[in-house]
């Protein structure tokens, strides 16, 4: 379970996140929505350690993760994807997955340099698991393609798989449907649910596609001007007058 408590982040005068409180229970899909510039991605950046909030706390399974480095937070079980696909384009599909595995950095530099037996075994296991993860999104046949050569929709899926490689308990998806065609969006719906169930994790997602959000979320938080405007089940949010006002009056 992930808890965000009274989190505030300022950039000089600007308050990007103002006293945000959120709770992401185990095995749930939670959405974070709001007009452009509401501070959603900033909130992701705080949780994943890119920014350190000025105030408040972020707690993952009873452990405060605030102020920890991004690589540390990843290893503690929070993985993310990006709004704009952020793959290692010149590496193969499977290398992109292997690179994000915990084990991949366990054997140290010297094991790696001299190719010890322990290292070779770890590596074999890593590639096998990466292959299994790719089967999840049906990318196994393209394992040795260069990541940058995949169509955009598949790049997004690969980014999700890469995020799964670290065995996270929380998966942060930043606009997973952006740039996907309608068929890919439809499939994404099923893929996210499948991931949540099979990998036994929770999803926190920022998304503008309301059909997707209302269709799969268990709970929705609405952010506006850096502040929480409302939260509730998808039905409650769709009825909420403040939310309707923010969306109609906003620039979205």
């Amino acid at each position: 379970m992930l808890t965000v408590k009274n989190m505030t982040l300022r950039f000089g005068e600007l308050i990007a996140n103002n006293n945000v409180n959120m709770e992401i229970p185990d095995n749930k899909i939670v959405a974070l929505i709001g007009p452009n510039g509401a501070g959603k991605t900033t909130c992701f950046n705080c949780i994943s350690g890119v920014y350190t909030p000025n105030e408040g706390d972020i707690i993952l399974n009873d452990v405060s993760i605030i102020g920890k480095r991004p690589c540390k937070i990843h290893n503690l079980g929070i993985s993310r994807t990006y709004q704009i696909v952020n793959l290692f384009a010149e590496m193969t599909v499977i290398e992109n997955v292997v690179v994000a595995m915990h084990d991949s950095l366990k054997s140290n530099f010297f094991d790696s340099m001299f190719h010890t037996k322990k290292h070779r075994e770890e590596e074999k296991a890593a590639y096998e698991r990466a292959y299994e993860l790719l089967e999840f999104v049906e990318l196994q046949d393209k394992a040795y393609f260069e990541a940058g050569s995949l169509p955009y929709g598949e790049q997004r899926l690969l980014e999700i798989v890469r995020a799964l490689a670290g065995n996270p308990s929380i998966l942060l998806l930043d606009e997973p449907a952006a740039g996907m065609n309608s068929k890919e969006k439809g499939d994404l719906d099923i893929i996210i649910k499948k991931i949540m169930q099979r990998m036994n994790l929770s999803v926190l997602m920022v998304e503008h596609d309301m059909d997707l959000v209302m269709g799969i979320s268990d709970y929705v938080y609405v952010l506006n001007y850096g502040k929480l405007l409302a939260h509730g089940t998808p039905d409650e949010i769709q009825q909420n007058p403040d939310v309707i006002e923010a969306y109609l009056g906003g620039d979205d």
Partner: protein, 290 residues
């Protein structure tokens, strides 16, 4: 004569290539050119001299000790010079200036420790030449080429196959994404500096019998290595090696067939031509994308 020239070109080329490799690796990792690369190479030469001539280690032992020492020096350099400046988010020119400072400091230290007179490395092998198919070769050159190629091959396998190597490439390609994949980018950067320094050190030993070791050699070799890296495609590991080979071949053949006073002219006119035709270098991936 062609074959002898080819061997000479390969020898010089592998030395240029090793220096260029350091430039490119560091550029990918830290986004700057490390102008201390040539002087670090020299430092490697002096260390090699110490291990081989003074302490009397066998040649491969001396090479290994030099590479390990230089690896550690690279770590320290990254930790106490590069990292503190890099973390302040200053412009890259400040960081480049820091590497210039390092290069002069290294030079001065060499002068203090080993003195200003050129040092001559003992020859690496007892047998000076071998004859094969009617052509005689200098065994030392062949040994140096072999060692350089072995080093490049090891590095290639390390970068392509090992998970640490993959992590290093990932960190160089996109540090932000790499961090969110759990890669300790500070650590991969440090190892990158260490490897570059270590490889430059190896080049320093190999240069020993060729030119002798002096404190002033660094500056000249620094330029050659930089030119090789840019011609090959700045930031590309294989481009660096190719660039080293091309530059060395131009120099060697111009010296052999025309005159040694013309070798720089020919080589650097050719460098300019490459820059006109392929401004991003022979092997730069970004050039394909643009």
């Amino acid at each position: 004569m062609v074959i002898q020239l080819l061997v000479a070109a390969l020898l010089t080329g592998s030395i240029y290539g090793l220096i260029a490799l350091g430039y490119s690796l560091i550029y990918r990792a830290s986004g700057i050119m490390n102008l201390a690369q040539g002087d670090l190479m020299c430092l490697g030469g002096f260390m090699g001299y110490t291990f081989y001539n003074i302490l009397g280690l066998p040649i491969f032992g001396a090479m290994l000790c030099t590479m390990v020492s230089m690896f550690l020096i690279g770590c320290v350099l990254e930790r106490i010079v590069v990292r503190p400046i890099f973390n302040r988010n200053v412009s890259s020119s400040a960081l480049i200036l820091a590497t210039v400072a390092v290069s002069y400091i290294v030079q001065s230290l060499e002068l203090v420790i080993w003195g200003g007179a050129p040092l001559n490395m003992k020859s690496f092998l007892k047998v000076q030449t071998i004859t094969f198919l009617g052509v005689s070769y200098q065994t030392e050159s062949l040994l140096c080429i072999g060692v350089a190629l072995l080093c490049m091959l090891t590095l290639h396998i390390f970068m392509k196959k090992s998970s640490f190597g993959i992590a290093m490439r990932a960190a160089a390609m996109d540090p932000i994404a790499a961090r969110s994949c759990g890669i300790n980018v500070d650590q991969t950067n440090r190892i990158t500096w260490a490897i570059s320094t270590s490889v430059a050190g190896l080049a320093g030993i190999l240069v020993g019998p060729l030119y002798g070791i002096t404190t002033t050699l660094g500056t000249a070799m620094s330029t050659k290595g930089f030119a090789s890296a840019v011609v090959g495609g700045y930031g590309d590991m294989y481009g660096a090696l190719l660039g080293g080979g091309v530059l060395a071949a131009l120099e060697t053949f111009a010296a052999g067939y025309l005159s040694s006073s013309l070798k720089q002219l020919v080589a650097y006119v050719a460098v300019l031509i490459v820059l006109f035709i392929k401004p991003r270098g022979l092997l730069n991936v970004e050039a394909v994308k643009d």
